[in-house]
């Protein structure tokens, strides 16, 4: 059944954070102001790669209205940060490695004064050779950007013998795929308010995806105990992974402590583009072979990722890409080598999909090409090679078993959109039958499918100008969630009856729009029978929350569900025992309900929660700590829990302009029970909107290490006009009997499958195979003589 407000019925609730969002009352952390507040700005390197000879700040410091000018000399603790490895300087001291590198920071009474102060800081640089491609950085004589060299991380996995298997293959497809430097483009740029408190503590009001980790990183930099820092980190105007790493927090914190006054920093979009994370550009070479019946025999993958100047989670992104480049298919022989390379380009890092977007674009491209080679329907070809329940994970590791891959495959096959593809005949005045070698190089080589059975083409076409072509394509996604083997991945939660009678649900998670608060509210209502007004949802404040781990990796809904499952019985028992003691009735005769404890049979309210609060000897509170479930393999980063999706899309290609329009989408998602229907639709629709941008328009192009784009006039994200087509979302909720893990993650998977599906649909429409995103419209423009033939039918 398609998910919608109508089909969700009573489970479709107004989000608890909704009223303040639609009225503008919600104060984002970049909306905050404080008395005597100063404005902070960061001086960033104008060079891609240079040695710092000298930094002079005297003139800036002497400017009236300036209260602090800081450089590397003013960092009391560790002059470095990074979630995974701390290789990014807070302030550069010897080298600058990209145009966003921070060299100094100022705090002043007005933004104008702060800007003037930045101009007065004198930095002498000695430019060094620039490594603006991974190839240059990997060259033997390349200067080292870091002491250990320019290979930030590499990863290899082998099973079987691919070379021997290729020799036995009936067909082999070899293709190299390239993916763009996509920008998160959260609407609220990085920023926050930093307040030195009278008791000597520091309060940080700044968005992040893991407040306690920011606190740890800031404690290292400031050389103070973590308890001296409070991080308030929600609400957030979008993140998508982009605010997971520290951004402006070190500068705000250092400036506020140096000046002894509150400091506000709010990045302009231009500064956000320059300094912020992007999705890793990757070059993925794949060689994949099948036997005469279409069964996959061998799969070789080589991934080169451009991680930019510093690591952040680049190593983990690479591991994820390598695992997902194997994906949900069966092959006996696999050989994956991947490397992520330091360069002087912009920062790459964590971004929704986490390396899966790149890998699945390549992998699904291989499946489509192989199917065509052997003359099979691309969807049937996938089924022939698809993992089934009981199969191990991509690395051969133990995983939590579901039949998700087959379930989404089946639903897509049954979908109305996929049926359109079957009935749509090839448009008259078709294309030249210039079949090209499947192993051939070069994107955009026009070719016509060899047989109508293999590629139906121009599906669902009506009377249209002959230069408007439609096509339908599909892709399948297996997406791991949680961090995987070898990384600390804690989870925790707390339930408590507060003094004022509210039931507090306390988690160390962040609300950046995904609907976490709504999901938590729904879980509390449906688990215990509370009313929304009984609840106080507490998140995003390190002084109040347990270490629930990060709000990343599609993990929070699953972790909240599991935490509540563990806390349900003891919390219910404590509440009921307290009520029983107060009203003198047996526990068995009582039940929890909206507003208070009820009679278990009659449903009549016997005592309000407010009348239980504070009346018991022991506080009524339960807390749980546990670890995200992991596989028993020792393969670093391998996942244990997976979600699956299948995406079909219908596109329209204008062969005069080369522009692609998405007309219709269908998403089948197998991720266990739907907890929050509104949030679920939002994640799939919103994620696929990002995938549309990835496929058709988004790339923060760098030339010689400098961004050619600085703002939203040249970095284009989809508008409502690009996404006005219909989108159907069909969740598959059933899990195997006895499955203990509950709802699976859906925060990222929606952002993955649409891009390869669009590539397949474009091929269906035009006969042009693309191996590079975003799709270059020039490749889809038909030459005038071709169009003339199409129009005249000659």
């Amino acid at each position: 059944m398609m998910l919608s407000r109508e089909t969700a019925g009573g489970r479709w609730r107004i989000r608890p954070d909704g009223p303040d969002k639609v009225t503008g009352r919600l104060a984002y952390l970049t909306d905050l102001a404080a008395p005597d507040m100063l404005y902070g700005l960061v001086l960033r390197s104008p060079h891609l790669h240079a040695r710092i000879r000298a930094i002079r700040t005297e003139l800036a410091a002497a400017l009236p209205g300036v209260h602090a000018v800081l450089t590397h000399r003013d960092v009391p603790g560790l002059n470095a940060f990074g979630i995974s490895r701390q290789d990014q300087p807070v302030f550069c001291f010897d080298l600058v490695r990209y145009v966003g590198d921070a060299v100094a920071a100022v705090a002043a009474e007005t933004i104008e004064t702060a800007e003037r102060a930045l101009e007065l800081i004198e930095v002498e640089y000695e430019p060094l050779p620039v490594l603006d491609t991974p190839e240059k950085a990997l060259a033997e004589d390349a200067p080292k950007l870091h002491p250990q060299g320019n290979v930030m991380h590499s990863n290899a996995y082998k099973r079987g013998d691919v070379e021997a298997a290729f020799a036995a293959c009936a067909h082999v497809v070899e293709e190299t795929y390239s993916t763009p430097r996509q920008m998160h483009t959260y609407m609220e740029t990085e920023g926050g308010l930093f307040v030195p408190e009278p008791d000597g503590r520091l309060t940080v009001y700044a968005p992040t995806q893991h407040g306690l980790l920011d606190r740890l990183q800031l404690a290292r930099i400031l050389a103070v105990p973590e308890e001296r820092i409070r991080v308030v980190s929600s609400p957030i105007g979008g993140s998508f992974g982009g605010k997971d790493e520290l951004n402006i927090q070190p500068y705000g914190a250092l400036l506020a402590l140096a000046a002894g006054r509150p400091v506000k920093i709010h990045n302009s979009r231009r500064e956000s583009v320059r300094a912020g994370l992007k999705r890793h550009p990757m070059t993925i070479a794949m060689k994949t072979g099948i036997d005469a019946s279409g069964r996959l025999l061998a799969h070789r993958v080589r991934i080169v990722a451009d991680t930019g100047p510093y690591a952040t989670l680049g190593a983990e992104v690479l591991n994820f890409a390598a695992e997902h480049a194997i994906g949900p298919y069966r092959y006996a022989n696999v050989d994956v080598e991947s490397v992520s390379v330091y360069t002087n380009n912009g920062m790459s890092g964590e971004f929704r999909g986490f390396g899966g977007n790149q890998a699945i674009f390549a992998l699904e491209g291989q499946m489509d090409r192989l199917a065509e080679l052997i003359g099979m329907d691309p969807w049937e070809f996938r089924l022939l090679n698809l993992r089934r329940m009981g199969d191990p994970g991509p690395y051969g590791q133990t995983i939590a078993q579901t039949d998700g891959a087959y379930q989404v495959w089946q639903k897509l096959k049954e979908s109305a959109l996929w049926h359109q593809r079957k009935i749509g005949g090839r448009c008259a005045g078709g294309r030249d039958a210039d079949v090209r070698d499947a192993g051939g190089k070069g994107s955009g080589e026009r070719k016509t499918a060899a047989s109508a059975a293999a590629v139906p083409g121009n599906s669902g076409g009506n009377a249209r100008p002959p230069w408007i072509r439609t096509g339908i394509g599909a892709a399948l996604v297996m997406h791991g969630f949680g961090f995987g083997v070898g990384l600390p991945d804690p989870a925790a939660g707390r339930l408590r009856l507060a003094e004022d009678g509210r039931i507090e649900a306390v988690f160390g998670y962040e609300e950046f729009g995904q609907g976490l608060l709504a999901t938590l509210e729904t879980l509390m209502i449906e688990t215990f029978g509370f009313a929304p007004d009984d609840l106080r949802l507490v998140i995003g404040d390190t002084d109040r929350v347990p270490d629930s781990g990060s709000s990343t990796a599609s993990r929070t809904t699953a972790m909240m569900w599991q935490a509540l499952r563990q806390m349900e019985r003891p919390f219910r028992r404590k509440l009921l025992e307290a009520a029983a003691g107060l009203i003198g009735k047996p526990v068995e005769s009582l039940a929890l309900g909206p507003g208070g404890v009820m009679s278990a049979n009659g449903g009549q309210r016997l005592i309000r929660y407010a009348d239980i609060a504070g009346k018991t000897a022991e506080p009524i509170a339960v807390e749980t700590h546990f670890h995200f479930p992991t596989s028993d393999t020792d393969k670093f980063g391998a996942h244990f829990l997976y979600s699956y999706s299948a995406v079909a899309v219908k596109v329209e290609v204008d062969e005069l302009t080369g522009r692609v329009r998405v007309l219709e989408q269908y998403h089948a998602v197998a991720a266990g029970p739907v907890v929050n229907p509104q949030g679920y639709i939002g994640q799939i629709e919103g994620g696929s909107g990002m995938a549309l941008g990835y496929a058709l328009m988004e790339d923060a192009i760098m030339e010689n290490g400098r961004y050619l784009t600085g703002n939203l006039d040249t970095y284009l994200i989809p508008t409502i006009a690009d996404l006005s087509g219909s989108t159907a979302v069909e969740p598959i909720e059933d899990l195997p009997d006895g499955d203990p893990y509950g709802p699976r993650g859906i925060g990222e998977i929606g952002s993955v499958g649409l891009a390869p599906a669009i590539a397949a649909a474009v091929y269906d429409a035009t006969g042009v195979r693309v191996n590079r995103l975003p799709i270059n419209p020039a490749l889809l423009i038909r030459k005038p003589e071709e169009l003339w033939k199409a129009v005249s039918g000659q």
Partner: protein, 172 residues
């Protein structure tokens, strides 16, 4: 500790500009070229109007000027002299009231992070004031200057359709 009622001091020597803001007369002393966005967010602490690109491309700072949507980042203070400015805080026309568009956004879930939402609602309200029963094409045209990165616009489109339907019911 966080005091949001302490506006930035006025700049001495600047002229005074009088206009109507959310139905109330206001007088702001500031340079004539000061951006309306800064007047609202910094001087008057009305932070419901958001800041996203500062070049008129994202629509996060959309406000109504005599009922027409404008980007507050591209509007200078002198341009609002004697005119009516309506922000998200005043769109419903009363404290604690909700505009039909706001109700529809709540009911359909036409928002996620909510940062684009004030601008989106202002644009949609302006559309429905002019075209109470818009076609999808008119909705798309009216909202094409407002970027949203979270929703994929599906919920937004459904919300504006619903707001129009609520309006029709109210009229019928």
């Amino acid at each position: 500790m966080i005091d949001r009622t302490n506006p930035v001091p006025v700049q001495t020597g600047s002229p005074v500009f009088a206009f109507t803001l959310n139905g109330e007369p206001v007088a702001v002393t500031a340079p004539p070229s000061r951006r309306l966005l800064d007047v609202l967010r910094h001087d008057l602490l009305l932070t419901g109007t958001k800041i996203g690109c500062e070049i008129g491309r994202c629509g996060a700072c959309m406000v109504l000027l005599d009922g027409k949507p404008v980007n507050a980042c591209l509007t200078m203070l002198y341009q609002v002299e004697g005119r009516r400015v309506t922000t998200i805080e005043g769109i419903a026309g009363g404290k604690d009231a909700l505009h039909g568009v706001q109700r529809a956004f709540l009911e359909e879930g036409g928002y996620q992070c909510g940062y684009c939402t004030p601008g989106m609602i202002v644009s949609a309200a302006a559309l429905l004031a002019e075209r109470p029963d818009p076609t999808d094409e008119e909705i798309i045209e009216a909202l094409s200057g407002n970027l949203c990165r979270c929703t994929g616009y599906g919920g937004i489109l459904r919300a504006v359709r619903r707001a129009a339907a609520i309006g029709r019911e109210a009229d019928g």
